[in-house]
Amino acid sequence: MSTTVTSAAGLDVAAVRRDFPLLSRTAHGHPLVYLDSANTTQKPEAVIRASDRFYREQNANIHRSTYRLSEEATAAYEGARETVRRFVNARSTREIVFTRGTTESINLLATSFGQAFVKAGDEILITGMEHHSNIVPWQLLCERTGARLRVIPIDDRGDLVMDDLGRLLTEKTKLVGVVHVSNALGTINPVKALIGYAHAKGVPVLVDGAQSIPHLGVDVQALDCDFLAFSGHKVYGPTGIGVLYGKESWLSKMPPYQGGGDMIASVSFEKTTYAELPAKFEAGTGNLAGAVALGAALDYVTGLGLPRIAAHEADLLFYATARLSEIPGLRIIGRAREKASVVSFVLGDIHPHDVGTILDQEGICIRTGHHCAQPVMTRYDLPATARASFGLYNTREEVDALAAGLRKVLEVFGA
C-alpha cells in the first residue's frame, strides 16, 4: 500500500505506519489492511520494546524485595502508574488501579461497590449501547442482591434518549454506567451532561472508556466521572492490562475485590488489615511488563498528540462514510450526531460473515458479528453487522481498498 500521505490533520501517517512492524505484513498475498482497531489495536515498536526490555533488563517482583533489581522493577511499574495518572489527569496515583482490562475493571467495581453500597430494591442504570462487559457484571450483582438493572434507550440514529433520564434516574439509583464511545455504533455519548444530571441526584457515574481513551482521551477531573475503566490493548498497548480509575473518596470506602499477596497491611488468622490504595485492589503479582508497556503506549499516543490523532480519524470517518455510502445496498448502522471512527454497516441481504470472509481474501480485516453488544443488534433488528474501525495508522487508501473489496463481495454474490 502506498502511504506517502501526510493526513489533513498534520499526522505523518507514513512515518507512523513504520512504527508498527505488523502493518508491513501481507495477508492472502495482499498488503494487510487492518480496519479492526476498535477490537484491538496493533502495537508500535516502542511498546514492543518496552515489554521486551522489562524482561531483559528489569524483571523482578515488585514491592517485595530489598535488592536493587526489584527496586528498578517497582520503579518501572509505578512509573507506568504515574504515566496513566497524567494521561487521564487523575489527582493521585492512589486512584489508578491496574487490572487485566476494562472487563476486569468493571467486575471489580460491580463486586466491590456492590458489596458496599447496593442492596435489594436499589437500581443500577446503564444505557442500551453498552458492551456486554458493562451489562453482565451488573446483572450478576443484581442477581446477588435483588437490585434492578435499568436501561436508557437508544433512538433510531444511535443517540441516547436523554429525555428518559429524568424518569430513569431516581432516588433508588445507586450508580450509572455509561459507555463513552459505542464500539458497535461509534456514538460519542454526552457523558459530561449525564454525569451532571447524576451528580445532581448524588449518584456516582462509571464511564466505560475502552473506545474513547484511544480516540478522544479522557480527563477525569474535567468530566468529573467517579470511575473510568479502560484497556491497554485498545490504545496500542498490550493485552491483559487495563485500568480502573476511581475517585479516592469512593475507592477508600470500597472493600477489596480479591484477597492475596500485596493487598494486605498485615495478616493473621484472627484479623487481616488491608493495604493502602491502590494496592488494596491489586492482589497477587500483576502484569508488570504489561503495565510498563501500557505506559509506553500512552507516551507514544501523547507524543503524536491526541488532538492530531482525533482529527486524522475524523477525516477517515468522514471519507469512509462518503465512500461506503456510494456502494449499492450498503446501509450504515449508527448515524449519531457525534461519532468516533467506527463504521458499522450491512450490505443488502448478504450476511456480514460472508462479507468478512470475502474481504479477508483481499487482505482486509474487519469485525463481523454482534460486537459483544447483542442488545444493540436487537434494537436494530439485525443478527449482526460488519464493522470497519480506524486507528491512527489507517489511510484513505485503505478506505478505498475496503470500498473495492465490498464491490467484489457484490460481484461474488451476483448482486
Partner: protein, 150 residues
C-alpha cells in the same frame, strides 16, 4: 480468487437465495434449535420421523450464506434416509470439511453436498456449514434439544 469461488459456488449461492424446505412443519415429531453464538446465526429444524425414516424435514432461521445453504442442502440430502443413515452422513460430511487441506477427500457419494469441500480452506466457517447438522443430530437425539456450535 480460487479458494473464494470454491467456497461461494453457484449451488451455495442458489440455496442461500432460495433455500429449499424453508418452512415450519406442523406435526413434526422432532425439532431442534441451533445457534452459533459467535455469528448470531440461528435456525430451527423440524423433522417428521416415521418408522425410523426421515419422511419430512424443514427449517427456518437466519444465517450466513454457508449456514443457510448447508441447511437447505441437508434437508434435501437426508429426506427419505433412515436416521442412522443421516447420522452416518453427518460424520462423513464433518470429515469432508475438517480433513487436512492437502489430502484430497473422495467427494463421491456426497452428491450436491460435495460443494462444501471448499469450506476446509476456511476453518472459521466450518461451524457455519455444520450448524444445521449439529441441530439435526440433537433434534434426533433429544426431541426438543438445542445445539450450539460453542
Amino acid at each position: 480468487m480460487t479458494a473464494l469461488t470454491d467456497l461461494y459456488q453457484e449451488v451455495i449461492l442458489d440455496h442461500n437465495k432460495s433455500p429449499r424446505n424453508f418452512r415450519a412443519l406442523e406435526g413434526a415429531t422432532h425439532s431442534g434449535i441451533g445457534h452459533n453464538p459467535l455469528c448470531g446465526d440461528q435456525l430451527t429444524l423440524y423433522v417428521v420421523v416415521d418408522g425410523g425414516v426421515i419422511r419430512e424435514i424443514g427449517f427456518q432461521g437466519k444465517g450466513c450464506a454457508i449456514s443457510k445453504a448447508s441447511a437447505s442442502l441437508m434437508t434435501e440430502a437426508v429426506k427419505g434416509k433412515t436416521t442412522e443413515e443421516a447420522e452416518a452422513l453427518f460424520t462423513r460430511f464433518h470429515d469432508l470439511l475438517t480433513g487436512p487441506s492437502d489430502v484430497k477427500t473422495d467427494a463421491k457419494g456426497f452428491g450436491k453436498l460435495a460443494v462444501f469441500s471448499g469450506v476446509r480452506e476456511f476453518p472459521v466457517r466450518v461451524k457455519c456449514a455444520t450448524l444445521a447438522w449439529h441441530t439435526l443430530h440433537s433434534a434426533l437425539a433429544g426431541g426438543g434439544a438445542s445445539a450450539s456450535t460453542e
